[in-house]
Every structure is written in C-alpha cells, then in structure tokens.
C-alpha cells in the first residue's frame, strides 16, 4: 500500500509560489531522491509531508498509522544545553537502552551512547541523527540534505549506510540531495523539482532528460558545478555559484 501520496500540492509563502501542482507517491521499500536547484521547493515539499507547512492547494495523505523517521537538514544544539547521545535518542520515543544501541549499530556508530552530543564530529552527529530517526522502526525515512557539512568520502559513506538500512529494515527512504553523482546510484527513482516536478524516473532516465540538463547543465560539467558548490558552506555564495552554473 502506498505510504505517502502527494496530490496537486501547492505551497505559497505570501506572494511567493514555492510549489505548484506537485504529484508524488512513495511506495514501501523504495529509495526516492528529490533533486533541484536552491529555492526549488525541496525543503517545502518535505515540510508539507511532515505537516510543518500547510498546503495552499492539493493535499498530502499518509497511510494510516505511518511511522516517519525524520533526519533534519541541520540541528543546532545550543552549547548551554548538556545532552548525551542516549538522552537525545530517547527524546520523543519510549525506548530501552538496547534499542538505542541497536539503532546506533545500524547507523554505524555503536560506541557513542554515553558521549555528549557537543563532543561529536560532523559525521558522527549526522549518524546519531540517523540512528534517532531509525529507533522506532519507521516505515519511511525522510532525509533533508542530511550530508550537509560532510566531506565527499563522508557523504558517500553516509549514503552507503542508507542503502544498508533499507536492506536491513526494508523501510522506504525519501531524501533531498544536492550531491547528484553520489545519490543517483543509490536511488530507485529520482524526482527533479523546480517549483513543479520537471521530470522523474530512474536515475539514468532523469540524468539524460532535457529538463534536468536545463537545470544542472550537461555531462560532468553540471555534476562538477554541483560538486563544487556542495563543498561550499556559505549559502549566499552557493546561490551565486548555482547561478554561474546555470
């Protein structure tokens, strides 16, 4: 049974029409990646799915009783807030220590249980976020640019971990990413978004679609432009390089 159904979704902030006529379905066990330039409405789509943004048109329906695991884009923990990995894992779900350990194990960081969140490296932090999302055995995992701030090998390893998670738990995965060349290989389906769904299909189909090429350029040139801007932590600059790439 379909996990998430998005029908004719529209989202607007004031006069700014961010999303229009978006249709999308997520089936059990599939890995779907949403790609699109900055400001294309990727995060808005994810926010609409979790109910953080009210649609201005259309609707989002979730399968009754659907369990969502969410990995946020970035999570800032104020330095004045002391919290251990274990306490963080138990934030919203009543879970045993064994479940915490198991979830950390499947996220590839089994030894971090007693550490303070503030002591983790960027990669460890993202994996703990992943583990927290996995802890209540979700039917679908949502990841919003979960590899921001990781270096190239780091994010490649992170995506391999995602594939492992799918293989082990069978949960569906919907993720947003900039890192096309890494993500493409891991995905069953790619949705190219720019306010509306430009094109969708298997990674190979999307990569050769004219709509996709119009957005991201052709061949390695396009991938390289994206690759470069992924490694740039300055967002304003990101947009500039995006425009340059276009």
């Amino acid at each position: 049974m379909t996990l998430i159904t998005v029908e004719n979704l529209g989202v607007r902030y004031g006069a700014n029409n961010v999303l229009r006529h978006v249709d999308m379905r997520i089936e059990p066990g599939e890995i779907v990646t949403i790609v699109g330039p900055n400001g294309s409405g990727k995060t808005s789509l994810l926010r609409a799915i979790i109910g953080a943004t009210k649609p201005s048109a259309g609707k989002v329906s979730l399968r009754p009783g659907l369990k969502i695991g969410y990995v946020p884009q970035k999570l800032h923990i104020d330095p004045t807030l002391p919290i251990s990995v274990e306490r963080f894992m138990r934030l919203t779900d009543r879970v045993s220590r064994k479940q915490c350990e198991d979830a950390l194990e499947s996220a590839g960081v089994p030894h971090l249980l007693k550490r303070q969140m503030s002591q983790l490296s960027g990669g460890q932090f993202q994996r703990v976020l992943l583990a927290r999302a996995l802890i209540n055995r979700p039917d679908v995992l949502l990841l919003d640019e979960a590899t921001q701030g990781l270096d190239q090998p780091g994010s490649a390893a992170f995506y391999r971990q995602i594939e492992d998670v799918r293989r082990e738990t069978g949960c569906a995965i919907l993720m947003i990413s900039h890192e096309l060349h890494v993500v493409m290989s891991a995905s069953d389906r790619v949705i190219c978004l720019n306010g509306h769904v430009c094109c969708e299909g298997s990674p190979a189909v999307v990569a050769s679609a004219p709509e996709y090429r119009a957005l991201f350029g052709t061949g390695t040139g396009g991938a390289l432009a994206l690759y470069r801007h992924d490694h740039d932590h300055n967002h304003d600059h990101c947009e500039n390089s995006q425009e340059a790439a276009e």
Binding site: R47, T80, T92
Partner: protein, 265 residues
C-alpha cells in the same frame, strides 16, 4: 511559623527559585534572555493598571506580561530583528508604566518596591499566590518536558514526531508570564530576568543532562534566596538585589570550576 517575616520571605524566595529554574533553562537554551527581560519590564505597566483599577497587582502584572509575551511571539520574524523588537517593546512598556504610575494621585506608591521587590513584606496570601503560581509553572513544564526539549532542538523534528512546536512555545510564554507575575514581589521587575538566567547558566557548568541542569539550577536558585536573605539581614542590604548577588557569585565560582574541568579534558 509563618508569623515571622523572615520565614515568609525565605519561602517566597525559594518558591520563585523553583519556578524560575526549569523555565530559566529553556530561556537559556532557546536564547530568550531578552524575551524574559521584556516581559518583566512590561509588568510595571500591569502594576500601574492594577493600582488604577484596584485589582490585585498579581492579576494586572499577569495580564500585561501575557499580552506582552504574546505580542512578541506574534511579531517575531516580521521585519525587525528580535532584539530590536524586544528593545522597543520592553522599554516602551517600562516607560509607559512609569508614566502611568505618576498619574495615580492620592495613592502614595513606593515604586522601588515594584522595581526591586519587597520580599520582606510578603504576606500569607502572597505566599499562596507565589507557591500556587510556581507549582503551576513547574507542573506545566514537567508535563511537556520532552516536547519542549524536542521543539527547542529542532522545529521539524517536533512536527515529524506529531506535535506542533508553536504550541510548546506558547506554553513557555504562558509559564514566563506567570513567573514574572509571582516574582515581582520577591525581586522586582528589573531583576526577574536575573533569577531566570543566572541559576540556569551557573548550573550548565555542572550538568551532564537537561534534567540535572534544571535540578541544579533549582538548588542554586533556592540557595541564593536563603543566603541572599540572610546576607540582607546581617548587612542591612536590599533583599532582592542581595539574592541576585549571591546567585551571581555562585555563577562566577561554578564557571571557574567549569573552565578548569574543560582545560583538564
């Protein structure tokens, strides 16, 4: 036992410390320090209004603090930066409050009592209001603890877990207004923010989890109230400021301990 004014004052101070500690932790974690200040400053307008309409000071202060806190929440993120907005609202409310008080002819008002508190004049009925309000705040925060913590960490995480972070923000706002209203008599509007922030900030150096931080903050706040009152009695200093001074000294000591511990790590 409650016949002794020092006993009543001590109980009042400890009551406020208990409410302020867990709330103060959230104020620190969410960087709402100025927000607490603004709400407290606005309360002086509430004092003026309650004297005009002959209501209890608690009711007037609570109403204005609530209106202030809700206004700030509504206006946040609409044009002005938060600190600008709070600077405008807090000091305007304080100024209007002071002007309004000056219109009250016939009643001689000791303004100092509301600006810096009048803990030695706490009555039995004040004690009931203070402990009732403190119990309400502690119960509210304990009830929503996990949700408040999640909403503090990340808004989307809260939505994905099935609750609305805006409602949690509203609960904190409500708790803040109640705390301000009950704390006026104890430390006065100018020092309420100190009772929120200093114990929580001092506790950070000793705590390893959010829960222990709130408990340690409560202990530091309560100790400051007891020791501050004692010092005020011995040295004949103003009571409210003396309590805050003790808290500040504890903050300095624990920060030194914290830095030492960090250097060893």
């Amino acid at each position: 036992m409650l016949d002794d004014f020092m006993t009543r004052a001590t109980l009042a101070g400890v009551g406020v410390a208990f409410a302020a500690a867990p709330l103060g932790c959230f104020v620190v974690w969410r960087r709402m320090a100025y927000f607490g200040d603004a709400t407290a400053h606005a309360a002086i307008l509430g004092v003026a209004l309650s004297l005009t309409f002959q209501m209890s000071v608690f009711t007037g202060a609570l109403a204005v603090a609530l209106v202030m806190a809700l206004t700030v929440t509504l206006l946040a993120g609409r044009g002005y930066a938060m600190d600008t907005l709070l600077g405008v609202l807090a000091h305007s409310a304080l100024a209007f409050g002071l002007v309004a008080v000056s219109f009250l002819s016939g009643v001689r008002i000791d303004l100092m009592a509301y600006l810096f508190g009048d803990i030695l004049a706490v009555s039995r009925s004040d004690l009931i209001v203070i402990w009732g309000g403190a119990a309400l705040v502690v119960a509210l925060i304990a009830w929503r603890w996990s949700q408040l913590l999640t909403a503090t960490l990340n808004e989307e995480l809260a939505y994905a877990s099935g609750f609305d972070p805006k409602r949690e923000q509203l609960i904190l706002t409500l708790a803040l207004a109640v705390t301000v209203a009950v704390a006026i008599k104890v430390v006065g509007v100018l020092l309420i923010a100190a009772m929120l922030i200093i114990p929580a900030a001092a506790a950070r150096n000793l705590a390893r989890s959010p829960e222990t931080m709130a408990l340690i903050a409560a202990a530091i706040g309560a100790f400051s109230a007891v020791a501050g009152l004692r010092a005020a009695y011995v040295f004949d200093t103003p009571a409210g400021p003396s309590i805050v001074c003790v808290a500040a000294i504890l903050f300095a000591c624990f920060s030194l301990v914290g830095w030492q511990a960090q250097r060893r790590d």
